[in-house]
């Protein structure tokens, strides 16, 4: 076990090396244990879900699990980020596995890249949080038409813009300066995604950093508090999530 993070009151441990984690995923993917694991935790990782349906013939509709609390302090903020990355990773995994009508090769390459980035973020947070990580969240994508370009890219735009604003707003809530840097390393990648998705929707225009996303008088992107972000993503997350103990903004 390698200790990777330490803040004033919390320690974060690497429970598994990245390699070990990969092995575990492969194991889950290819063994019937995956089905049982998915069932037990109600995870909606599509790989696990498909394993579950393949091995046990169970319906896709996940079982309801208890509510999940994000926790307090830096742990809470990292779990907040982990929750958002879970949502994005599940969304792009579905978008790539069931391509919308007319998806061209350039779009497929972009969405596949973004899927991989969001999986990297998700798995990073899972490893970094170790035992303090929230469980896999069940998502609810019933409002998204995965066969429709407008629906998929429109949802992607929403998720990316919300993600950018969430990280921008969460920076000041982190105590540990190393976590602040990590959040910074991720948020600019989310912003690259946001610009790219926006450009797919409205090519060669000002939309990549449009006045609806970047205040034209200040040139500032949005920053949102967790209390502003969570209701935006709530319709897409089936697992009840509570965030009462998260740090509050100072202003």
């Amino acid at each position: 076990m390698t200790k990777i993070f330490k803040s004033d009151d919390e320690a974060f441990n690497l429970e598994a090396t990245a390699e070990g984690f990969t092995s575990r995923r492969k194991f889950l993917k290819f063994s019937s244990a995956a089905a049982l694991t998915a069932f037990a935790f109600g995870a909606l990782n599509p790989e696990l879900l498909s394993a579950r349906t393949a091995f046990l013939g169970l319906p896709i509709e996940p079982i309801q699990e208890g509510s999940v609390d994000l926790g307090k302090g830096d742990t809470g903020i990292l779990n907040y980020a982990y929750a958002l990355e879970q949502l994005e990773a599940a969304f792009y995994t579905q978008a790539v596995s069931t391509p919308y009508s007319g998806m061209n090769s350039a779009e497929r390459a972009i969405l596949t890249d973004i899927r991989d980035h969001e999986i990297a973020h998700r798995e990073f947070f899972k490893v970094a949080l170790g035992k303090k990580a929230i469980p896999g969240l069940q998502v609810n994508f019933t409002s998204i038409n995965f066969g429709s370009r407008d629906s998929v890219l429109g949802t992607a735009k929403t998720f990316e813009d919300v993600g950018v604003s969430a990280y921008n707003g969460a920076g000041q809530l982190l105590k540990n300066v190393d976590f602040l840097l990590l959040a910074g390393k991720i948020v600019s990648v989310e912003a690259r995604h946001a610009a790219t998705i926006r450009d797919l929707l409205s090519p060669m225009s000002s939309a990549f950093a449009g006045d609806d996303a970047t205040d034209p008088s200040t040139g500032l992107d949005m920053a949102r508090t967790p209390a502003q972000v969570l209701p935006l993503v709530a319709p897409f997350i089936k697992t009840p999530v509570t965030a009462n103990k998260l740090p509050k903004p100072k202003n």
Binding site: D161, F208, T218, D221, M222, Q228, P231, P240, N251
Partner: protein
């Protein structure tokens, strides 16, 4: 998600009304996005608060903001000059560069307003970097190359300073809000050049060799002390694309100084 009271109580009443009135999640999200835009710290509010009075601005924060201001001066003059150079920017990307230019001008004004009398003066720039990019305002491809280098450098510069702004929540947040806009710019310009919007490894792609310092270190796969190589079966390209890396002030100034007249 639980719409529990403590969460909602901290949200403006209008939001809650909108949230409960709308059923469609996408519409809800779009609607919220518009409402949330009004919560962005306004120019005036920023300048009018305690840290807007330059005498109270701690030296460490002023240093960071002046460093940022120097980069914004560079970008602002670069795009205004380019937009004013007849025949340089094709009609179909005028909107893109008009938008970027607008943001850089706003960033200069914002930083100057916070710094007040502590703001550094604008340097004299040489966007040809002593001749390395001699046709930067005559050749669109050269212009794009320098633009990409500036934007990717800007992202790394702000990222590297976030920790130094930690003691001031408002200024930190504003810096993060500029940081992500620079990343939007970078992705757009990269894509105009036929590159991916994100940085793979430490590759400068099709940029000329003098720009390599802009990308050195981007191939890092160690995050939070853990080497992520092989994470979830992902390629190293995907892992490195997923995390943008910071540059120190010294590294950034070494790049920027190529464009500043001595």
């Amino acid at each position: 998600m639980d719409y529990n009271k403590p969460l909602l109580e901290s949200v403006e009443p209008d939001y809650i009304n909108e949230m409960t009135a709308r059923r469609d999640p996408i519409e809800k999200a779009k609607n919220m996005a518009g409402a949330a835009a009004t919560t962005i710290i306004s120019f005036g509010a920023l300048a009018g608060t305690t840290f807007g009075q330059d005498k109270k601005l701690p030296g460490k924060i002023a240093d960071v903001l002046n460093f940022a201001l120097t980069l914004e001066y560079l970008e602002d003059e670069f795009y205004r000059t380019a937009l004013g150079s007849s025949g340089l920017i094709p009609q179909d990307t005028q909107d893109v560069f008009g938008q970027i230019s607008k943001h850089e001008t706003a960033h200069v004004a914002l930083l100057k307003s916070v710094l007040g009398s502590k703001a550094v003066a604008k340097p004299n720039f040489d966007f040809t970097a002593g001749g390395a990019f001699g046709d930067v305002f005559r050749n669109y491809q050269t212009f794009l190359a320098v633009s990409q280098a500036f934007e990717d450098t800007g992202v790394r510069a702000y990222k590297g300073q976030a920790g130094n702004l930690k003691d001031n929540a408002k200024i930190l947040t504003v810096a993060l809000q500029i940081h992500s806009v620079e990343a939007r710019h970078a992705a757009e310009v990269r894509r105009l050049r036929g590159e991916k919007g994100w940085i793979s490894g430490d590759s400068r792609g099709t940029l000329p060799a003098p720009t390599q310092p802009v990308y050195n270190g981007e191939g890092n796969t160690t995050q939070g002390g853990a080497n992520l190589a092989g994470l979830a079966g992902l390629s190293n390209a995907a892992i490195t694309e997923s995390f943008d890396e910071p540059l120190s002030k010294e590294q950034v100034l070494a790049i920027a100084s190529l464009f500043i007249k001595k």
